[in-house]
């Protein structure tokens, strides 16, 4: 992390109860969300090419350690993650003045799982990032790769490299240079026949263990105990884990995210059984984009078309 960023975070700390940033993960090329309360802890903060977690998940007050009513929290947000804050503000989940946001420009994050197959990413002994080359030593095998080949899918399609809503911006803003479309993966799915799509999703849902990590890591899912996928009376979903109940779980969730998903892809990243579960809300997003030109969390103050009403809709 640059000295400037560290100094700024230390400067903000007296104003906030805690500041959320990134700290060391289980190895040198993984980070983890870090909550700090004291200035000396700033030294443990990281800002590098491995800061994938969307810290906006901690913006809804019910999803983070409580603070007193007159206190605020600080956090660092990437461009994609900041869309969640815009959406949450629009939904009235958090008050703007309760957040102190540090804006940054993000060069794209590295997905080390893309190295799997070449090396065992669970047995990393050494890793070095030098300019555009990531060299990783794992279990006696070494691999060097161009980081442009290791970027997360969402980073390749990044339209918002700069934080969209912030209290202060550190560093220079960059311009977006998407190398593919954000809806490309959805378009590929749409090309399948209905039967093929059904088979595709049934295979994916058959693996789901319903750990609910996709839901809990989602910054827009904040219903907690009141989530209808959790309530036992009335019971909307079945407790048992099988393809059909899993499908029900994920489809309900996708509908609840329609026009609200901010495309951070965290649900798919955390899935312990590799289900590309972000494709479901993304499909809903594509529909909303095609019909209403709507992209959740991109314009502060605007209302989602599904929460608004016009006498005449142009495209309906």
């Amino acid at each position: 992390m640059s000295k400037e960023l560290k100094a700024r975070i230390a400067g903000i700390l007296p104003k906030v109860t805690y500041f959320i940033g990134y700290g060391t993960g289980i190895n040198t090329i993984q980070t983890a969300p870090l909550f700090i309360r004291k200035p000396e802890q700033v030294n443990a903060m990281l800002w590098n090419r491995f800061c994938i977690h969307n810290l906006a998940v901690y913006v809804p007050p019910q999803k983070r350690p409580p603070v007193a009513p007159d206190e605020k929290i600080g956090l660092i947000l990437k461009g994609c993650d900041s869309r969640a804050v815009i959406q949450l503000l629009q939904e009235g989940i958090v008050k703007r003045e309760k957040l102190y946001i540090i804006g940054v420009s993000c060069p794209g994050m590295i997905d080390i799982s893309k190295l799997q197959g070449k090396i065992d990413i669970n047995r990393i002994t050494k890793a070095e990032l030098h300019e555009q080359t990531l060299t990783v030593l794992a279990d006696k095998a070494e691999v060097a790769a161009d980081i442009n080949d290791l970027l997360y899918g969402k980073c390749l399609a990044c339209e918002y490299p700069n934080t969209l809503i912030y209290d202060e911006f550190i560093g220079q803003k960059t311009t977006a240079n998407p190398r593919k479309g954000i809806f490309d993966a959805v378009t590929d799915l749409e090309k399948m026949s209905l039967d093929q799509r059904k088979a595709f999703w049934e295979k994916e849902f058959s693996r789901c263990i319903r750990c609910k990590a996709c839901r809990n890591v989602c910054p827009i899912c904040y219903c907690q105990n009141q989530c209808l996928l959790d309530t036992r009376v009335p019971r909307w979903t079945q407790e048992q884990v099988d393809t059909k109940s899993n499908e029900w779980f994920h489809l309900i969730r996708a509908f609840h995210l329609a026009g609200r998903c901010i495309e951070c892809g965290e649900c798919a990243r955390v899935c312990p059984v590799n289900i590309p579960i972000n494709l479901l809300p993304m499909k809903m997003n594509k529909e909303l984009f095609d019909i209403f030109g709507w992209r959740a969390g991109t314009k502060a103050g605007e209302k989602s078309p599904l929460m608004d009403f016009k006498l005449e809709e142009e495209k309906l």
């Binding site: 969300p33 263990i209 750990c211 990590a213 809990n216 079945q238 407790e239 990243r269």
Partner: protein
Amino acid sequence: MPKLIPQNKLKDWLDNLAQTHEVWVPQDQDGMCVIDLYQAEREINLESRTRFSAKELVFPQTERLFKYKYEKDKDNPEHVSVKLQTENNVPKRVAFGIPPCDVAGIEIISKVFDDKGYKDPYFKKRREALSIVALGCQHPENACFCTTVGGSPSKAPGADILLTPVGDGYAVEVLTAKGQALIPNDLFDKLADVDAPDVEKAQQKAGKLLPAPMVISPSAQTAQALLKAFASPYWNEATAACLSCGICTFACPTCHCFTIVDEKCGRCGERMRCWDACMFPLYTLEASGHNPRLAQSQRYRNRISHKYSYMITNNNILGCTGCGRCIKLCPAGIDLRRIVEKLIPKSE
């Protein structure tokens, strides 16, 4: 004297076992290594760690306990009887090539489901029908810490057979009579012997692959340490990022909490036992609406304290095998080792 089975003869053994057993073996599927039913045409993978533990073989995520049906008496419609139908068929299974930490996991939950005080018939049936061929671990992962909790990468108490990689094959040590029954004589008679000291040497080498900066014993002091830390503000700090999902519990080889539900449709239904997770807020929600563990720090504290304190008090064992899955898969990057190291004083 142990036999040495070369890599290329493993398939013959597995094919032989598959004639009489359901053989479950690690294999690659959908971009991960999973323990799944052996099929002759599919490659097995004894190099990688399976995404989840083998506990599903004795404690499935969804267990159908019985089916029920209400029947009305035609002559006396007020009288309704219930017919129950249990599912008794538990196939004979072999868990083949599972690591010592997974064997330890099965041993630990056996203490809960099949101990002096309580015997769970569903678990017992599955455990008795399961034979374990463990494979000594050669490649600890970044998140591994079995030696810290008293385990070993190369010994697997509770297994029926232990395989130890030696050269281009595996030394086969038969540990129990159940294990002996898995040895096809016509195949093994043709195999070469391997010297016991050579096996011992290979195991010692593997044991050194995973340095243990501290060793936690299932002692009263360990149990006390966490009780003392019950009100520590450290829990808030360490678990601030926790998202209350169920990955750590579901992936854990020793987590064994469940809920029982009836799925009813008309007059018929099924009673099922499904995994639950103490990380879910609903787990402790009481009928009154009160929740004694409302904060995620309280839930996380429970999970750690259960493994490192309550299980010592109740069962004289540590409830953690050090497999590291909760660390590796945590969406918030929470490292259980850091918490445990902080709260439990180093024992000599």
